[in-house]
């Protein structure tokens, strides 16, 4: 009888006679959390070791770039700078010499920007329309077209370097920025088209049908229905393209000429110049400067990137 009453009354009275009934005994409420379990130690220990392993080179680079040459010659690469100087950064950006040219990395930076922006815009614009057409307008031969495009993604691109040189030469674009933009756009096409096709294919088909009944055509559906829904996948595409094109070295060195070399090529030329003393601090500063753009892109859009990668499950 007492137990029945116990169950029906509020928790206060239940607590008061917790000792007598089996129901009221034992643990209740939130399970206490222990911090130092074996699992936690192993988990966080591993994470910390891995993080250190990746961060150490960056640390060395930053530290070295802030030291003067006399300090570097002491050889303590892990010690923080005694006297912080930004002179190596200034030199790397605007004074370092490659051959006869002594403008530093700045010229390469602007070349890279002039390559990057049109390449990213062009490749994503075309690939998104490609993906949309392949996913939603099943035209005749769409499967074949798509297969060919995907096969293109698996052919090692080194195979195509020389033929592309000849083709660019024939149309008069060899050694120009336009030529390189074209090459980057073409090489981005398979993977970007695949990306967009899969994204648009995950958009409910009925949405597309509803828009057709509403009278929207190919472009109206693309711009007014599909585009506003696909911010995450555009962010993914932009990140892929920005990092890919910015970090490219091979195409830059092959399809342009010294005046138009992108930043990566210029960095290589600064770091590998065989004349004079090796200025480690300048080299480190130059390398960090070159890597800054992709780094910023990741920091700014990291969250959106993850969301876009996981965006198969968009519900209408």
């Amino acid at each position: 009888m007492a137990k029945v009453v116990n169950l029906n009354t509020n928790s206060l009275s239940a607590q008061s006679d917790a000792g007598d009934g089996s129901v009221a005994e034992g643990p209740r409420g939130e399970k206490p959390k222990r911090v130092l379990t074996r699992r936690n130690i192993i988990l966080y220990g591993t994470l910390i070791v891995v993080a250190l392993y990746y961060l150490l080179p960056l640390y060395v680079m930053v530290v070295t770039s802030l030291k003067g040459m006399p300090e570097i010659r002491l050889g303590n690469i892990f010690s923080p700078p005694v006297e912080v100087t930004f002179a190596p950064w200034v030199k790397a950006w605007s004074e370092a010499c490659t051959g006869l040219n002594c403008e530093g990395l700045s010229r390469g930076f602007w070349n890279s920007v002039r390559i990057l922006v049109p390449s990213v815009v062009l490749s994503i614009a075309i690939a998104s329309v490609n993906g949309y057409a392949l996913a939603n307008w099943r035209f005749k031969g769409a499967e074949l077209f798509f297969t060919i495009l995907i096969v293109g993604a698996f052919i090692p691109y080194q195979v195509m370097i020389y033929p592309l040189v000849i083709m660019l030469r024939e149309i008069g674009l060899y050694g120009s920025l336009t030529g390189l933009v074209l090459v980057h756009s073409v090489f981005g096409m398979p993977i970007l088209t695949l990306l967009f096709r899969n994204y648009f294919a995950s958009v409910p088909e009925e949405l597309f049908k509803a828009a057709r009944v509403d009278g929207a055509g190919f472009w109206a559906i693309y711009f007014r229905i599909m585009l506003p829904m696909s911010l995450p996948i555009f962010v993914v595409a932009i990140i892929l393209q920005v990092t890919g094109i910015w970090n490219d070295f091979l195409f830059g060195v092959i399809y342009t000429k010294p005046d138009l070399y992108p930043m990566t090529v210029q960095l290589n030329n600064i770091v590998n110049s065989s004349q004079g003393v090796k200025e480690y601090n300048v080299n480190m500063a130059a390398t960090i400067l070159t890597g800054l753009v992709p780094l910023c892109v990741y920091f700014v859009s990291g969250k959106l990137f993850v969301r876009g990668i996981a965006a198969g499950a968009v519900k209408g």
Partner: protein
């Protein structure tokens, strides 16, 4: 006057024929339901009428105009989808306005039409919201509104209530029927739910394998199904099918369901076409049988109670009849216990006899 008319429509996906020379005439203002199991081609047929699928052969007429090659927007149709298909980035108002803006209607006309549709469907407070902020029932109302503002002759519904829970489905079903009574547009409605079909339709087209099996008023389909498939598909709990053999004695046919189990077919429509020894399937619905403990007048058979399923308003009693099993719907006030011996009385007005080989109604 016919509103929608489909002539010899054939649709092939590669070598697979999904619809084969299908003919269908739908009268103006009619509520026609396409009913069938999944994969029977009912949604495909609707998409062909809408112009969302290119047909292989045949013609489609809407309001007397040949629209076989027309774009969906030029066919004078509005369509409502199972997944609502609202544009997620637009507010309800913009969802409704989208098609009208594409058609370049003047602004005040668009506003007037949205206002009217919102009033009819009682969605005025929702106009500024986005679809994600609406419940399932509200979304489907908006989707119906999007068809409504188009001011068209023919509404197409592709399983519009299938994503809703049971209670909401029943509510919206009533609303749809009311809407049809007020608007008097032609409506074509695809569903696999026979209750929706029976309650909403003026006529039901039962489909299977890309072919219309029967096209009739709901009660005709319920009472006089043309074949075993239609008989089994319509009705819940489903019709009892008992294997039997025709025996004709003194010109009066009866069906033998087992040893000492004879049901005389006096009063059945097509007695004349039955032949002695013909193998048949005798079909009778659980609600057309009466269960008693004593012998009664009329055709009746003895049976043994197997189990009882109480369902609130009534109960379903499962019986063994010889070596066959069947169910009877009874008043929930009279309880039966397993193993009890009972008597079944048949209502032959509502029974069906099917040929065992062709599965067609006799």
């Amino acid at each position: 006057m016919t509103s929608v008319s489909v002539r010899d429509l054939t649709l092939r996906f590669g070598s697979l024929e999904v619809l084969s020379s299908l003919n269908l005439d739908i009268n103006e203002g009619e509520f026609l339901v396409l009913l069938g199991p999944s994969g029977c081609g009912k949604s495909t047929l609707l998409n062909c009428v809408a112009g969302l699928l290119d047909i292989s052969e045949g013609q489609v007429f809407i309001s007397g105009k040949n629209v076989t090659w027309e774009e969906p927007k030029d066919r004078g149709i509005g369509m409502v989808f199972q997944s609502y298909a609202l544009y997620p980035q637009m507010t309800v108002e913009k969802n409704l306005a989208f098609g009208l803006q594409i058609a370049k209607l003047p602004k005040d006309e668009i506003a007037a039409r949205i206002k009217r549709a919102a009033e009819i469907l009682q969605i005025e407070p929702l106009l500024k919201r986005k679809p994600a902020q609406l419940s399932g029932g509200q979304r489907q109302r908006v989707a119906i509104g999007r068809a409504l503002v188009r001011d068209v002759d023919v509404f197409l519904f592709d399983e519009p209530l299938s994503n809703l829970d049971a209670k909401l489905r029943a509510e919206l079903r009533v609303e749809l029927k009311r809407l049809h009574q007020n608007l008097t547009n032609t409506m074509i409605y695809v569903t696999h739910d026979q209750i929706e079909a029976l309650t909403l339709a003026d006529r039901i087209a039962v489909m299977k394998g890309g072919i219309i099996q029967q096209l009739d008023a709901p009660l005709t389909i319920y009472n006089k199904p043309v074949n075993l498939f239609v008989a089994g598909f319509i009705g819940s709990p489903s019709m009892n099918f008992l294997k039997g053999q025709i025996e004709i004695q003194d010109g009066a046919p009866s069906v033998r369901l087992g040893e000492n189990l004879m049901v005389p077919l006096a009063g059945y429509d097509a007695q004349g076409t039955l032949s002695d020894g013909q193998k048949v399937i005798f079909g009778v619905r659980p609600e057309h049988l009466t269960l008693t403990r004593d012998q009664t007048s009329g055709p009746s058979l003895p049976a043994v109670v197997e189990l009882e399923e109480p369902m609130g308003a009534d109960s379903l009693v499962w019986l063994r009849l010889g070596d066959q099993s069947m169910s009877v719907r009874t008043d929930s006030s009279s309880r039966f216990s397993p193993g009890e011996e009972v008597v079944i009385t048949f209502d032959l007005d509502h029974a069906s006899v099917f040929d065992a080989d062709t599965e067609e109604r006799i």
